[in-house]
Amino acid sequence: MSGIEVSIKSRLGHFDLDVAFTAPPRGITALFGRSGSGKTSVLRAVAGLVRAPQAHVRINDEIWQDEKRFVPTHRRPLGYVFQEASLFPHLSVKRNLEYGLRRVPKDQQQIPFHDVVELLGIAALLKRATNRLSGGERQRVAIARALLTSPRLLLMDEPLSALDHGAKQTILPYLESLHDEFGIPSLYVSHDPNEVARLADQMVVLEQGRVIASGEAAPLLTRLDLPLSGYDDASALLEGSIASHDHTYHLTWVSLQGNRVAVSREDLPVGRHARVQIQARDVSLSLHAHADTSILNILPCRVIDTHDINPTQMLVRLELEDGQTLLSRITRRSAMGMGIHEGMALYAQVKSVALLS
């Protein structure tokens, strides 16, 4: 039996937590929801930091909790990254890193110290005291400390939420490479659709202590009946591959089966898998394919459905020729003027595309 299986029932403040989901044995699964939806409680129960009265937690063929047994946290081979870095203030950076490592039997240490230090770019910090680190550095050390215990499951509780925008942007690439490098299955708690879009393969959407949707991240991000699309930065994820490079204008073309979109030039091999993110607010709609526009990325599409997000604006969900979905945020007035309806053929003009990986 491979994969992660979690089911938890417990009382949580003013509502009941009743959650069950499975996650694949590789990749990042995001636990997504507003604050107070029970995400952190789920993570704490999976770690055994709280003892949920009724819970089943299984990681591959190891059972961490069921009716009969409760494995205490320190016997669960997990890594936990807290919201604030929580480094031990009485230990140097190096001793913080070694704290968990020294407690794992030699034959179970699968992740070499130098690889982790290298990957997270903290080699220069090892001798420092923890109070001489910036917020972003502290969180990188905390992530490295968790990784060094060679965990079979990595739990991350909004590891970026205490950081400012700049620090966030510097850590995201580390989290992405961690995912590619070590392949440790991770549960990643977040309330930020952008983080989820960048990092998650799978997603579990929580509301009021219940799972309201779960599955692959990309289709869930564009579902209009879920809270995700209500956010100001609602976006769609598209999978494609690197098609070609335009040296003259410094662009990289990403092919989406038949169509292509341009991003700023990236040094990536042609044919490599590429994931792009398109914000709903960067997509405008047109009845014809204009050639007289500054917008490079024009994609033929068909309306799936629409959803009013406020009295002024609405989201339109669009199906591209290859079956992937895109979101567009337009005013209700424009929608009426264009006569937008289900099944209508349109052209999406995409102002900007972010290449994620």
């Binding site: 930091l49 320190h74 997990l78 929580s86 031990f88 407690r103 109070n131």
Partner: protein, 225 residues
């Protein structure tokens, strides 16, 4: 004039033994008080704090009755073959432990509460067992609290008088500690001897407190994030 050092050594022995025992007894009590949400937590805190407000004679009086041959503690100690405790060094240690308990429990409880649960949880996720967590995370992080507790209990025991007089009396080498010796010298108008001891106590107490503040100031600074 020959200076009688015996009360000084006896006092140091009493304060040292008491402090050692108090660290062993007070730490689990303080840890429990800092962590529990039991309804009787407040009541237990009040019991621990009682020696702060009670006149030492009241504490001494009840202890004397309890430790008497037909008292509850007296019967227990006799059954254990220890004899009775009043007017012995053992009795003084027992009384001092109770008398100085709040001076150990309160600083430790404050330190444990200030620590919060996070560092302990972090250590648990890094594979540290409960004992391991206590030794490698709680004790180093609560070090200023431990230091304060030890120094206060030592100094408070050195300065105790009422309880000693009630249950220890004035037996040289057994229960005649500094404070009692000073009282004795004054009673018999031996002011020179009284001066030496009293001034010694004053200087000792001042030095103890100054070094406590200095060391704690340094520890706190080095831990600030």
């Amino acid at each position: 004039m020959t200076f009688d050092w015996q009360p000084v050594w006896l006092t140091l022995k009493l304060a040292g033994t008491t402090t050692l025992l108090l660290m062993l007894v007070g730490t689990p009590i303080a840890w429990w008080l800092a962590r529990t949400q039991a309804w009787y937590k407040q009541a237990l805190s009040a019991v621990v704090a009682l020696p702060l407000v009670l006149p030492p004679t009241v504490l001494g009086f009840y202890l004397l009755i309890l430790m008497a041959p037909d008292g509850a503690i007296g019967r227990l100690t006799q059954a254990l073959g220890l004899g009775t405790l009043p007017f012995t060094f053992g009795g003084l240690v027992f009384a001092s432990v109770l008398y100085s308990l709040p001076f150990v429990v309160q600083p430790l409880q404050n330190a444990f509460e200030a620590l919060g649960t996070r560092p302990v949880e972090v250590a648990a996720t890094l594979r540290a067992s409960p004992w391991d967590r206590f030794l490698t995370v709680v004790i180093p992080l609560a070090r200023p609290g431990f230091l304060t507790a030890a120094v206060l209990s030592f100094a408070h025991t050195v300065g105790e008088f009422g309880v000693v007089l009630m249950i220890g009396g004035n037996i040289p080498g057994e229960t005649k500690v500094l404070s009692v010796a000073i009282y004795d010298y004054v009673e018999t108008l031996e002011y020179t001897q009284a001066h030496w001891l009293a001034a010694g106590m004053l200087v000792f107490s001042f030095l103890v407190l100054v070094s406590l503040y200095l060391v704690n100031g340094r520890l706190t600074r080095s831990h600030q994030p």
